[in-house]
Subunit: 434 residues, 2 copies
């Protein structure tokens, strides 16, 4: 069995479904996916993974091999297993767009279908939206902290699996990172591939100077030297030396990369020496455990860094590696339902979300109403779009390129105060239901 199977489910979804099948037949439910609370220091979230979910739902089925595996568990009835062998999605789906700005308790995905179909896609939907949204949000924060300077993704090695690294490259690209070091993701999404060199490269030559010279010979058009293998200042001097050699041959050194030590001080030393050596076009690239907080500090102190490379802390959304992403039933058999568990209440009724803007298009507040409400709101735009009707896609998948454009527009409309990296104010969401 391949690890990437269609049985990425929680076991209780199957046991419940056997009972639903006997007791409820094809009775319909409506489920909504949302975030119960925003993680600490997050004033908003940027959605990701929505298009992947639309594809998952549209293509949902269980292979006969998978149903055979379930049969072997000897927990399920034969008629129910036969039903599973033929199951596909026949319902309706509404969703926000990838790259949307959303807040707590706002549905980002809604499914109306026979209850079994809703339950069997639960795990993959929560998993996908949770991860992609955390990463898109983290990358947005980093880019916001960098104040428009280019940021590149070095996060593959410590992301939680290959798929998480792939998701990181995708979401980083969505919000506007300049490049990725992750080869398969870069190729798949047409993201520019970027890279410098590892310490091992420098160490494999007798001297740092030889290493830089060898690399410059190999890639004269895109050459960045990692200068901290032994001593950053000595490394910088060696980089300048080879940079000047390159110039004589008609090439230009692209950058020097700082990867440890005091980045503020080293970037100042680097800029100064590069400029006084006539290499003012050489970029100073900083990396090494960076995230939005450390980048904001460097920017506040006007560190002369041109490009930031971020890895680990961004790849795992280190200060918020999880969110309260939930998938809750809000209607069953045409009746509103809700749970009342302490601190985990859920709100009944399928919902609509209106975003109210001022005359210059800036976001003022959101309003949540029941989907069947006829209220409208001046200056308000509805966030949820009908994506699948009775199992059929209503429009093709939104491309990553379109999501990028959409994101850029909406992020611009979010007032700056909600973008604070720490303790942002609460954006007003007015829930008119109940």
């Amino acid at each position: 069995m391949s690890k990437i199977s269609d049985l990425f489910l929680d076991y209780y979804q199957l046991t419940m479904s056997q009972s639903f099948w006997r007791k409820h037949g094809e009775k319909e439910a409506i489920f909504e996916l949302s975030f119960r609370r925003l993680p600490k220091d997050r004033g908003y979230l940027v959605t990701g993974g929505i298009e992947h979910c639309i594809q998952h739902i549209k293509n949902f089925s269980l292979s006969s091999e998978s149903v055979g595996s379930l049969r072997n568990l000897k927990k399920f009835d034969q008629p129910f297993l036969t039903y599973l062998e033929n199951i596909k999605f026949t319902g309706d789906v509404w969703s926000v767009r990838d790259g949307e700005i959303i807040f707590a308790n706002e549905p980002v995905l809604q499914i109306k279908a026979p209850i079994i179909q809703c339950q069997l896609v639960e795990t993959i939907l929560i998993n996908t939206v949770n991860l992609h949204t955390l990463l898109a949000t983290k990358c947005t924060r980093v880019l916001h902290a960098a104040q428009g300077k280019p940021v590149i993704d070095f996060g593959a090695r410590r992301a939680h699996s290959k798929l998480a690294a792939f998701a990181l490259a995708e979401e980083a690209h969505l919000v506007g990172f300049t490049g990725t070091a992750t080869v398969d993701a870069g190729i798949n999404y047409s993201i520019p591939l970027v890279g410098t060199m590892a310490h091992s490269y420098v160490m494999s030559f007798e001297t740092e100077l030889e290493a830089f010279r060898a690399y410059a010979e190999e890639f004269p058009h895109e050459c960045t030297f990692l200068i901290d293998t032994y001593d950053s200042v000595e490394g910088l001097k060696n980089a300048v030396k080879i940079g000047l050699e390159m110039e004589k041959k008609g090439y230009r050194l692209f950058g020097v990369r700082l990867d440890s030590g005091d980045l503020q001080k080293l970037s100042e030393i680097s800029r100064k020496l590069l400029d006084t050596s006539g290499l003012n076009y050489v970029q100073v690239i900083a990396s090494g455990g960076l995230d939005e907080y450390s980048i904001a500090d460097l920017e506040r102190n006007q560190a002369p860094i041109n490009i930031y490379g971020v890895g680990t802390k961004v790849s795992v959304s280190a200060d918020a590696p999880w969110a309260e992403t939930i998938f809750k039933m809000v209607e069953f058999n045409e009746m509103p339902v809700s749970k009342t568990s302490e601190h985990k209440e859920s709100a009944p009724y399928q919902k609509k979300v209106y975003r109210i803007m001022n005359d210059s298009g800036k976001y003022l507040q959101d309003v949540i109403t029941a989907a069947n409400s006829t209220d409208t709101f001046q200056g308000g735009e509805e966030l949820l779009i009908h994506r699948i009707r009775t199992g059929n896609l209503l429009e093709p998948a939104m491309s990553l390129m379109n999501a990028q454009q959409y994101y850029r527009n909406v992020f611009d409309r979010l007032p700056t105060r909600y973008k604070a990296l720490s303790s942002p104010p609460l954006y007003p969401v007015n829930n008119l239901i109940g």
Copy 2:
């Protein structure tokens, strides 16, 4: 292109390799994978993912489709691309076992091979060992906090991708979790599948009582009721009622599940009512944001909980979602090498690690020596095993079952003080090199 391709690499590994190919040919390097520091509050790590790495290395190659994608980038020479098309692993590998206890700076995997081969497997090796080790360690901590009570894995939905959920189920099983809710992982690794019901199940019936009765009819032999959909104490009473009905039919209710609110208080109320109702065999299962810290609190207060279900915080190793997992060159062309970057120094020479035990087999300290050293240590066992010689496996992969047994033995030998959940003492590792 499939997302799971053999191009899960950092771009610089390819650019460096083209230069290595021209300048160094098949000159050999030795790289070591280790943890530069232990994450906060970790007194030890439990290794995971080692067998996956051995398989990755053994099977390393690039498909002609992948090399075609690289050709399309127009960054690499044709002769180098041809070389990549035929590349396979021809070197040697040493590793510790999965389930080993290790500390900072101890190599867990060593590769000796032409430098290009070492570099091209770097990303996948760091990624795999980092994630699996973080998860194995987190699960060990949880089980230790639960003091031998059964713990089950509910973590799929908020793990960082399907693959991370799969890794969680595997590592949880390695250290002794009782079951998993993740269907494909349970089937793949023969882990018992466990599950109760979701709130949606209860909400799809007119009353909670009807829901419980329907579930008991469907699964009379493995029936656990989630009692917090509306009010946990009312839910408990309904569970007792159906539990007594089941008894009359010759069945036994397995458990009640608390998923919100004050778990200490609710578990006490549950135990008392179940016992006074003659249902003393019914298990109290607790879940809802649990991790090793909250479980330790419940155990300290002797909460009458029989089984713990853990999800989100364990699935992302929430208090330590990353580790300083590194892969560093220690020898090149038969000479020791090292870097001296500030706070990121690397230590030269291929190494051996000896674990010194006292007469009753408890761990006293570790000693690191150069691999070519002839020193031996009384009561010391070598941790690194020769796994691959000139590209060939020296022994078959260790099964997950064997890793479980190995882990149980070594964890028992680690003195209890290093297992403290917060601020454990530093285990002595004596580095005799340099």
